[in-house]
Amino acid sequence: MAALLEIEDLCVEFRGRDRTVRAVDGVSFSIDRGEIVGLVGESGSGKSVTSLATMGLLERPSGRIPRGSIRFEGREIVGLSERELQRLRGDRISMIFQDPLTSLNPYLTLEEQLGEVLVLHRKLDRRAARAESARVLAQVGIPDAEERLRAYPHQLSGGMRQRVCIAMALLCDPALLIADEPTTMLDVTIQAQILELIRSIRTERNTSILFITHDLGVISELCDRVIVLYAGRVVEEAPTRALMERPLHPYTEALLESTPRLDEPAGGSLRPIGGVPPRLGAEPLRECAFAARCRRVRAACREGEPALVTLDDGRKRRCIAPLEEMGT
């Protein structure tokens, strides 16, 4: 069976006043049904842009897709009209964001915002929409759901607001849920609750989840598979545990080494990554994107960008350093 989502050679460009930036360059990956895939990277790595492109939410006319394909349930999304995209969004694919307060309408009660989705996509009447909204709110762990339907977003805590956003995303039982840093603004104990909720959504509904984060700890707790982005490129892809235990790209390795670990006694030292990511333009890179910051760099790295290579065990990496060298 084909994967639920297949992204192939995706490029996204933004045209500014004085230059064009290729924020995503040749990104390919797929997500199977019921799978939780993590997309990890630092600011500017292209992780959010990739997800916005998948939702058809790139800002126009500055953002465009010059090349590449996004197939969802076997159907090409790139090039769909706004009308067709709208039918897909909130129904088959839905998204939750970092800041639940800005993604909820402050003027609408929960009943109104949740009901809107059901009336639009499932043609329910108000009464049925109300009952269904209450049911889903209860499912995401909101106590007194019936009562809460009358509340406005500002009357809820941050954790409760994120639960409401998740409920709204689940109303039409989407096949794919894209979660862009949904726990970054939450306290750790509340984050643990939301991660548990996301795990249960996958178990109970077999929903596929694309989870975008900069936090390798959260990836470890939640994801089956990880895709590491750097400067708009996939640099490594692997099952989560394998990646954390033995990263095969020097960037992944450096990311792990620069993260302070809760389970490591003090006195250890972090190994910061020196320098900054390359400035992306419209031109293709003439060397490996990570070459300038890489501690395993060699002459060949400067001679052209390495390809993303699939290894025998199915892992992928974009690096020419010998495998034996990694992890030493």
């Binding site: 941050g158 954390m244 990311l255 389970d263 006694p265």
Partner: protein, 341 residues
């Protein structure tokens, strides 16, 4: 390592600093007693900080951790005079800060500096780095107009920036560089204590590591003490000597860092440590470790403030108010289970 014991006579007698301003061995740099910061709320006072005792010794790093509403930022801001305490005492090298006159406060302000989370908001966009750093140096008499340029260059080198960048404006720097500039500005007056309020939260991990390494190096070189406010326990374990865990305005556990992570004493600390995501965790599918949410400091629960969420609560918890009980290793925990220990 000295563990602050609020009742110990040593800390209380730390009042007199010697004439040249040096502290006797074992004397606390900062002594906080029964500090309360209450704000007026629509339905009574909001007890943001409610009875905090804390000592900070020269050259050590104390992390202040807690979730939203725990009071950690309010406490830090109060220590530098940005909030007015409702009650209690803050002594810096023996001098009481509450009610001190302007001249005394200005002298103290030199010794305690603050670095904020967002370096974008805390640097004046219309001043070059040279102008920003000169201001503090000249104001506190650390440089003369003649040698200020050289002093600025030294400061920039100290925080790992190229002195040639001093003619640039804040917007020409990356987030990490800007945070280095904020640190340089704080260092310009040779403080004894640096309050770091979520200084790396806005940065990517690779840049965060650079700043954490910088702060560690500066502590080694200059002997500055840090009060480090953060919500990230990974950072705490990496940088702190001691940790104060706050919950709804109070310190619930005060421990040496290693002890806190290996044997957390308070049930809230245990939940906090267990809830933090771990790299390489094999804990998939575990149930949420802590239900409910942090109560509002406007309506703190009766008895132990943690009792409504605590899985280990027993008879006294909803009725009696626990104190910070001493632990065998010198730490303290505000839990009845530690009363006899």
């Amino acid at each position: 390592m000295a563990l602050g014991d609020p009742t110990e006579p040593r800390a209380g007698a730390a009042a007199e600093a010697t004439a040249d301003g040096a502290l006797a061995a074992g004397q606390a740099l900062l002594t906080v007693r029964d500090l309360c910061v209450h704000f007026a709320g629509p339905s009574g006072p909001i007890r943001a900080v409610d009875g905090v005792d804390l000592d900070l010794f020269p050259g050590e790093t104390v992390a202040l951790v807690g979730e939203s509403g725990s009071g950690k930022s309010t406490l830090a801001r109060t220590l530098v005079g940005l909030n007015v305490p409702t009650r209690g005492s803050i002594r810096f090298r023996g001098t009481e800060l509450r009610g001190a006159n302007r001249a005394a406060l200005r002298a103290l302000r030199k010794d305690v500096q603050l670095v904020f989370q967002d370096p974008y908001a805390s640097l004046n966009p219309r001043l070059t780095i040279l102008a920003t750093l000169s201001e503090a140096l000249l104001l506190h008499g650390r440089a003369t107009p003649r040698d200020v340029d050289g002093k600025v260059s030294e400061l920039l080198e100290q925080v790992g920036l190229d002195p040639d960048l001093r003619f640039r404006y804040p917007h020409e720097f990356s987030g990490g560089q800007r945070q280095r500039i904020s640190i340089a500005r704080a260092l310009s007056v040779s403080p004894k204590l640096l309050l770091c309020d979520e200084v790396t939260s806005a940065l990517d991990v690779s840049i965060q590591a650079q700043i954490l390494e910088l702060l560690k190096r500066l502590q080694r070189e200059l002997g500055i003490a840090y009060l480090f406010v953060t919500h990230d326990l990974g950072i705490v374990r990496y940088i702190a000597h001691r940790v104060a865990v706050m919950y709804v305005g109070q310190i619930v556990e005060l421990r040496a860092s290693e002890a806190l992570f290996t044997e957390p004493a308070h049930p809230y600390t245990r939940a906090l440590v267990a809830s933090s995501p771990r790299i390489g965790a094999a804990s998939k599918g575990k149930a949420p470790l802590l239900g409910g949410e942090v109560p509002s400091p406007a309506r703190p629960p009766s008895g132990c403030r943690f009792h409504p969420r605590c899985s280990e609560r027993f008879d006294p918890c909803p009725r009696e108010v626990p104190e910070l009980y001493p632990l065998a290793d010198g730490g303290r925990s505000r839990c009845f289970l530690c009363r006899e220990a």
